[in-house]
Symmetry: C2
Subunit: 216 residues, 2 copies
DNA sequence: CCTACCGATCGGTAGG
DNA sequence: CCTACCGATCGGTAGG
């Protein structure tokens, strides 16, 4: 039996995002983005090792060798998926918090952080968090170090919020351990949450708030 | 750059478990177990795709083709790792609960379930839960169905406990959603918990109880 | 970006 | 279980 037969084949490039111009009209940076977007989608649905650079090329509408015109290696594609994803999510997380206005309650900050994180984790076009969780090992040590720094910055924002709730008695676990448990719980939702199901993003957030702090 | 270079190489077969008899003295079933044990360890540390059957053969002290004398395919090894692991953990989970005696409090049952689950997830010689989380996609649909049944049976035991705590007001989230969040949180500990670190298994269990129910 | 190609590795097998 | 091997696939590249 062939191994590849065991995998659910990826759907044939649903071509999300901006519509397709004719090949000649797409700029070099658009092609670069095409490769990156399809790589992220395939790495998430099939796994890094199970995705060939030929799969990515076909999904991006190119010949087999062409992705290497935009990326020096397959590993560089994986790194770019994670680096760009983390940069975007760190930026949007900051915006969400600033939108709360001055002196928001710790509980409101946690709710906003959780809701924002869920929106990224279960977003139909954002694949990089599952990719980070599943394909961490496929990075080189140097790449791992760089992504770790981004991840630390993203997660560091949560600590003052958790510390504040802990002091207020609304979070009973130790904040450092709580943070690890909470990220595990939230990230796992990428595997089971169905956006077409009965739970909305707000429902999901409310249930998480109840579980971790006893109230919504 | 070669892809394999990106991976941390697996430690050279630390030969845990029973000591090595000379090759001629090991029975066929011992050899079978050797292959399965090394497969589990390598699938966990390197990933399924990044582990060759030659790696497994070498770790088990055989020539490259010999694992196929014991398993009909690489995929069958992965399946066996999960199936045997789930069978053992379901059995031990039942024993732990029965050891609580008659009419244990729901809180004591949850604590026992969490502690037992942690002991499996972070146990130095039990690799199958991380393997299940990471390599689910590599199973055939038929294999997935069978492992799903085992997983459902294992998780079903938690529902009466969560329902009981919810009715008692000690768990504020809806039990079905809570179960998904809780397994996400507990399983993720496989990635960060260090048995040589400052937290004991009991500490870990206590922090989880506090996070999910507000008290230890 | 495409064409044509290389060297390496892999799962699996026949035959003993 | 080992030996010797096959067919397929893969990441990556030269040359245009």
């Amino acid at each position: 039996m062939n191994d590849a037969d065991a995998r659910t084949p990826a759907p044939p490039a649903p071509r999300r995002g901006r519509p397709r111009k004719s090949a000649e009209q797409r700029s070099e940076s658009q092609r670069h983005a095409d490769v990156l977007r399809e790589a992220a989608r395939l790495f998430r649905t099939q796994g890094f090792d199970a995705t060939s650079t030929r799969d990515i090329a076909a999904a991006a509408g190119m010949q087999s060798g062409s992705p290497f015109y935009y990326f020096e290696s397959k590993s560089a594609m994986l790194f770019a998926v994670m680096r760009d994803g983390m940069a975007q999510v760190t930026e949007s997380q900051g915006q969400i918090l600033r939108a709360l206005g001055p002196r928001p309650a710790a509980r409101d900050r946690l709710r906003a952080l959780i809701r924002h994180h869920f929106s990224v984790v279960v977003g139909p076009d954002s694949h990089f968090i599952p990719v980070m969780l599943y394909e961490w090992r496929a990075l080189t040590p140097e790449q791992r170090k760089e992504i770790s720094l981004q991840k630390d910055a993203y997660e560091a924002v949560w600590m003052p919020v958790l510390n504040s709730l802990h002091r207020a008695g609304e979070l009973k676990a130790r904040p450092t351990v709580a943070r690890l448990f909470i990220f595990g719980a939230l990230n796992w939702a990428a595997q089971w949450f169905n956006p077409q199901g009965p739970l909305s993003l707000d429902d999901l957030t409310e249930q998480a708030m109840r579980l971790f702090t006893g109230q919504a």
